[in-house]
């Protein structure tokens, strides 16, 4: 028994470590969003600020480091992503539903084959789905001779919707299959027997039954589409979605604006998850109550009789919320005390940095010379770019924010 306890403690420690591993990077990333420094970091801490959520910052060389609110590429990417997500939901949910329905009707001899083909897209690497869609549609566009087919075949949003629908339909399919497995088929028969036509059975019995699955597959299809990169990066052609914008930003240099974007997404996810969980618990509780009532009225077993409790108890989550609020107030107080919050602090550090700027420029020039030297020697400039002092990288600033003229990757 004792060894069992020791084991459980070990397991508990392990789980703590695991969750730290899972959440630690996200938490640190979230914190960096509030550091005014250009490089997303916790230490050294410059100033507490919301600049990366708002306007960003004008760097010393005049380049604009866009903040979340001012980055038009992010905004356009977001709108494209939303469009694509909507299109994917509209296509993949009906497709997944129909595939799941047909699976229940298909002759058992073909069932395995049908099922295998249907789940294949999930097993394909995402890049391959993107590529195959693009090459096929390029061919169609060429053959289309300038008509509608050509327009569609060269439209990145359209191709991305198709490519994503290919595998997201499988997600929906799997959700529907799971729900249909618990469907009592006699209900369909009962409805038929009561005079409903097949179409009526579909809309009055099957669809209401599938409604929860439809809702969840809509959400999942949208999220999967929204966060997809591997497929999208090929099929989007010359357009940009949120993920491809993020990717090109991250690849070229990292900015706290991305941290702030991540934080916003994390908060949205958190809110939705918590809201869903609360609703679900409430529903569960209600269901249990109804069932208990029904059981009591049926059996009149005195043990099941409900005793009304009049004691009022404070719901537990309130303590959690209070705790967070107190921590926030305390932390904020500390920030103000140490004068590392707000525009005054930022101005101070800016000034300090600007005084170093001449020095930095010299360094910059030296590095650039060295870089061109080495490149002429072995033709490889990328070696040193990734690591170290960001001021040492001559290309970096212009790729940070909104106004660069990056060459598009389009074929």
């Amino acid at each position: 028994m004792k060894s069992q306890q020791a084991l459980n403690i070990l397991l508990g420690i392990y789980i703590c470590i695991f969750f730290t591993y899972l959440f630690g990077p996200l938490v640190i990333m979230s914190i960096t969003a509030f550091n005014s420094a250009e490089f997303p970091s916790v230490t050294p801490w410059e100033c507490f600020s919301f600049r990366w959520f708002n306007e960003g910052k004008i760097a010393y060389d005049g380049q604009h480091l866009a903040g979340l609110a001012t980055d038009w590429r992010l905004h356009e990417g977001l709108i494209t992503s939303l469009k694509i997500g909507l299109g994917v939901v509209l296509l993949s949910v009906p497709i997944g539903l129909s595939a799941a329905l047909v699976l229940t009707q298909v002759h058992s001899r073909f069932r395995t084959a049908f099922y295998s083909i249907s789940i294949m897209p999930v097993l394909f690497p995402g890049v391959i789905i993107g590529i195959s869609t693009v090459v096929l549609w390029d061919r169609i566009a060429t053959m289309g001779g300038g008509g509608l087919a050509t327009q569609l075949g060269r439209n990145g949003v359209f191709l991305t919707i198709l490519a994503q629908t290919c595998f997201i339909s499988t997600y929906c399919f799997l959700i529907f299959v799971a729900r249909l497995q618990r469907f009592d088929q006699t209900q369909e028969e009962a409805a038929l027997d009561l005079g409903a036509s097949q179409t009526q059975v579909f809309f009055k019995i099957l669809i209401p039954y599938m409604m929860p699955a439809i809702a969840s597959s809509c959400v999942i299809a949208f999220l999967a589409s929204f966060e997809n990169y591997n497929t999208t990066v090929f099929s989007i052609l010359s357009d940009q979605t949120l993920t491809t914008v993020i990717a090109s930003k991250v690849r070229l240099g990292i900015s706290p604006a991305i941290s702030s974007l991540a934080l916003v997404i994390i908060l949205i996810t958190l809110t939705v998850t918590i809201a869903y969980e609360v609703l679900r618990r409430r529903e569960d509780a209600k269901k249990r109550e109804i069932e208990a009532d029904a059981l009591y009225t049926q059996t009149l077993d005195s043990r099941l009789k409900k005793v009304d409790k009049n004691t009022f108890s404070i719901p537990k989550p309130i303590f959690g919320i209070l705790f967070v609020i107190i921590i926030c107030i305390f932390g904020f107080n500390k920030l103000v005390e140490k004068e590392i919050y707000g525009s005054a602090c930022i101005a101070a550090t800016e000034k300090e940095k600007k005084s170093n700027f001449a020095e930095q420029l010299k360094l910059l020039q030296k590095n650039a010379d060295k870089a061109s030297q080495t490149s002429s020697e072995n033709g490889d400039t990328d070696q040193k770019k990734e690591f170290g002092d960001i001021f040492g990288d001559p290309d970096l600033f212009k790729n940070f924010g909104g106004f660069d003229t990056k060459k598009k990757d389009a074929p």
Binding site: L22, I95, P125, I128, I254, Q383
Partner: protein
């Protein structure tokens, strides 16, 4: 067929047939076949397609194995090397993930109370829904030259100057591990969850040791979950693009990045298609291997 129409009525039947036909034929089968076909074509401008030069050729596969004719190397060490690296590391990461996740999945499924389990699962789902790019970005912040880890290590005096985690590929491997770890937990959890707790108690009652119980009872029971988790993690790791884009060092390539290069930088679509076919073949072989080793059906792998 007649039966099908009778059962669904004309309207619904039409809907079912059109949507499934569209999906299976137009989105799944035809693009893959066309890509397969393209991988055997020479890289010629669109205008010459269908012309006399458009003949089947193995040139792209040859290039993958032996490199360009101008290079003096016997084999295409770079590309094959990247390919083998990708596969080996993907397998390694899969195994590490499996070892990492098994205790967690077991804890949630069998040890924790229902309420705790629910809480843990929800908190596992949250990071799962955050974009893979952003999760990689979080690691990049940690591992960067002036990043969190280096700063902490310097502060406590373990090292003098920053370690280049990115160039050492530590960042990349951690990132790949981090990205898909949840896809290992959920299948394992689902599989272990169905195990009757009485079986564990019976094994204990019969004097089986903890470890033996796991190897003789829990793992055999969860083999479908293990197969499923391993397949998903391997597939996603080998086919990952987002994480390598963010975390790989400039001189390390992931195989998908090679494909990306042939497509978008070098504009050689047939060669990109050929490399894709290679990746796809590996994926299919891996799935079949998993089905063989664990003796599970394909339906048990993808759920």
């Amino acid at each position: 067929m007649n039966y099908f129409f009778n059962k669904n009525g004309p309207l619904i039947s039409t809907y079912l047939i059109i949507s499934i036909g569209f999906w299976l034929v137009f989105l799944i089968i035809v693009p893959q076949l066309y890509m397969f076909d393209l991988s055997f074509r020479p890289n010629i401008p669109t205008l010459l397609r269908g012309g006399p030069d458009d003949v089947y050729t193995l040139v792209h596969y040859k290039h993958f194995l032996f490199g360009s004719e101008t290079s003096g190397e016997r084999y295409n060490y770079v590309d094959v090397g990247v390919f083998l690296d990708t596969i080996l590391i993907a397998i390694l990461i899969t195994l590490i993930n499996l070892c990492f996740c098994y205790p967690i999945a077991f804890y949630i499924a069998k040890v924790a109370t229902a309420k705790t389990a629910r809480l843990l699962i929800v908190s596992l789902i949250i990071p799962f829904w955050i974009n893979e790019l952003l999760r990689s970005f979080a690691l990049r912040i940690l591992f960067a030259g002036e990043g969190f880890i280096n700063n902490v290590l310097i502060k406590i005096g373990l090292i003098n100057s920053g370690i280049n985690f990115i160039a050492m590929d530590v960042a990349l491997y951690t990132g790949l591990n981090y990205a898909y770890i949840l896809l290992m937990i959920f299948p394992l959890y689902n599989a272990i969850e169905t195990l009757d707790k009485n079986q564990l108690e019976a094994a204990e009652d019969l004097g089986s040791s903890m470890i033996r119980t796991h190897f003789r009872i829990v793992i055999p029971h969860a083999k479908a979950g293990i197969a499923s988790g391993c397949t998903m993690v391997f597939m996603l790791t080998a086919g990952a693009l987002a994480t390598p884009v963010v975390l790989s060092s400039p001189n390390t390539f992931w195989f998908t990045q090679l494909i990306y290069q042939w497509f978008n930088m070098n504009d050689n679509w047939p060669r990109g298609a050929a490399y894709s076919v290679v990746l796809l073949t590996v994926s299919v072989v891996f799935v079949l291997l998993m089905m063989r080793i664990f003796k599970v059906k394909i339906g048990e792998i993808v759920r």
